[in-house]
């Protein structure tokens, strides 16, 4: 008998659901959605979208793997290497996901279909590009009806982008709190006065807020039967949204602590070259196919790993670093490098319904190798995470580990300690090796020439 596990996030749509069976991720289409699914496949929309890499392709498997009465067909989608969520994306990633959603919507209209929802969770980054993954989001288009997902689109895409654009602050933590997007009341209170000069903000935020407030009032006549809509109106509306989002500038200029780390700090080119030689040698000795690069900064070493044909997830807590790296990945079409925002001291938790809808970062992202280069001192001295706690953390996430120890004699550490009392009595090479040896076998240990820093390659016991 075939067993299956329904994906915990796939419970909202009666059209079907995602499940795992025999190590494969599958999507069941229910009878309820049969007509729409046939239209998607037979109208030429599916072919058009997949040919243009806008929608994930799938194989149809006419086998009822779940043994459920509502089964219509089973889809085996092309596997996506790693699943990431909008609260791990930088501004430009969310912007591209928004533009993809609008592009899929406008293409669907040409084929007599429309998107019935508009959430960033329908999008993943695969082979360096955003791709739409929810094959069951397409509905029959009724030209008299407006877009049912307009408000959801605003809440999940437009409002977060407006917030980051006008407030010049990271919005990832806010997005992980508001899973259904930022409510209009909330953003209307936060946006600065000057934003009211923008037609887009005025229409989509303030006017919508006013309408939402009046819709809540009793006996109002705002029923959907009260107005007529048309395809031209819908194209005007979605065209306007596309223009707003396209006009958000890429690579905004405000500077953060880490955005020019390698240029501004004491870290010289010679140091980077020497370290690169060692990392390349370690890569040559490793059989790992996937890497999680923690504290990747500008992605210098992530690109070294990617150059070794490894699937790389490059993470940093600083959104500007991830933003720059993402734009470079896009420009150079690096298909095996996914930049994501991650604060190691507070990684994405398990959230949503039953705390299972969206898995925690380290339960979701599994790699053969973890790289922590020039990171340990920031975690121990900057974040007060003790060395034994850090060793335990790496034991949980890293089958193989490339890690750099930066001792107290290092200029950078001296700088960090100059502004605070040195309470790190066990922060030295001997203790570092002792703590990590509890969990790991040391495969290699190489001092970086010209510095007091040491690189290690370790394997979990």
């Amino acid at each position: 008998m075939i067993t299956f596990t329904r994906h915990p996030s796939s419970f909202k749509d009666p059209s079907g659901f995602v499940f795992e069976s025999g190590g494969r991720i599958c999507r069941q289409v229910n009878q309820y959605y049969a007509a729409e699914y046939r239209q998607l496949m037979e109208s030429g929309l599916y072919k058009h979208l997949t040919d243009n890499n806008l929608l994930i392709s799938h194989q149809e498997l006419p086998e009822n793997l779940t043994n459920t009465a509502e089964w219509y067909t089973t889809l085996i989608p092309e596997p996506v290497s790693q699943i990431s969520y909008p609260y791990e994306w930088c501004f430009e990633q969310l912007r591209d996901a928004a533009l993809l959603t609008l592009s899929v919507l406008r293409t669907s209209l040409q084929f007599g279909m429309i998107l019935k929802d508009a959430t960033p969770y329908n999008i993943q980054f695969n082979r360096g590009k955003a791709v739409f993954i929810d094959t069951l989001s397409f509905d029959k288009y009724n030209a008299q009806q407006p877009w049912i997902a307009y408000r959801q689109f605003c809440q999940c895409f437009l409002f977060p982008l407006y917030m980051e654009y006008y407030l010049k602050t990271d919005i990832q933590k806010i997005l992980s709190t508001y899973l259904d997007g930022i409510p209009v009341d909330f953003i209307a209170k936060l946006l600065p006065l000057k934003s009211r000069l923008s037609l887009g903000v005025w229409l989509h935020v303030y006017l919508q807020q006013t309408a939402a407030a009046s819709a809540k009032a009793p006996n109002n006549k705002t029923g959907k039967q009260a107005m007529q809509f048309s395809k031209k109106k819908l194209l005007d509306l979605t065209g306007h949204l596309t223009n707003i989002i396209k006009n958000f500038p890429e690579g905004r200029s405000y500077k953060t602590t880490w955005s020019n780390y390698y240029e501004d700090t004491i870290l010289s080119k010679a140091y980077l070259q020497e370290k690169e030689k060692i990392v390349r040698a370690y890569c040559g000795d490793s059989t790992a196919r996937s890497v999680l690069d923690l504290g990747a900064n500008d992605g210098h070493f992530s690109k070294v790993f990617a150059g070794n044909n490894m699937q790389v997830i490059a993470t940093d807590a600083d959104s500007r670093c991830i933003s720059r790296l993402y734009q470079e990945v896009k420009k150079n079409n690096i298909q095996n490098l996914l930049p994501l925002i991650l604060d190691i001291a507070n990684p994405s938790p398990a959230i949503g319904f039953h705390n299972q809808e969206r898995a925690a970062f380290h339960d979701r992202i599994k790699t053969d190798l973890v790289a922590a280069l020039a990171l340990v001192h920031h975690l121990v001295i900057g974040k007060n995470i003790s060395l034994p706690a850090l060793a335990g953390y790496f034991n949980d996430i890293a089958p193989e580990l490339i890690i750099e120890f930066v001792p107290k004699e290092d200029e950078k550490v001296k700088q960090m300690l100059s502004t605070r009392p040195d309470t790190f009595i066990d922060y030295d090479q001997a203790h570092f090796e002792a703590y990590f040896s509890v969990y790991f076998d040391m495969l290699a240990q190489t001092p970086v020439p010209g510095t007091s820093r040491i690189l290690y390659r370790m394997k979990r016991k």
Binding site: D139, P146, R151, A211, T222, I244
Partner: protein, 59 residues
Amino acid sequence: MIHSCILLYIDPGSGSYLIQAIIAAILGALFYFKNVWWKIKAFFFKPKKEDAEEEDIAK
């Protein structure tokens, strides 16, 4: 029971119907006046070769 679940799923944005109608009407009016303006301009000045593509009225 099943049908009420379905409605809950597909009807999350119906509150936005009115606002979409208003926004679409405003945008339609803006596009209309823009077209009129282009025609007036074209009457008084020699029209340029390249198509006057829809200019962004965004933001």
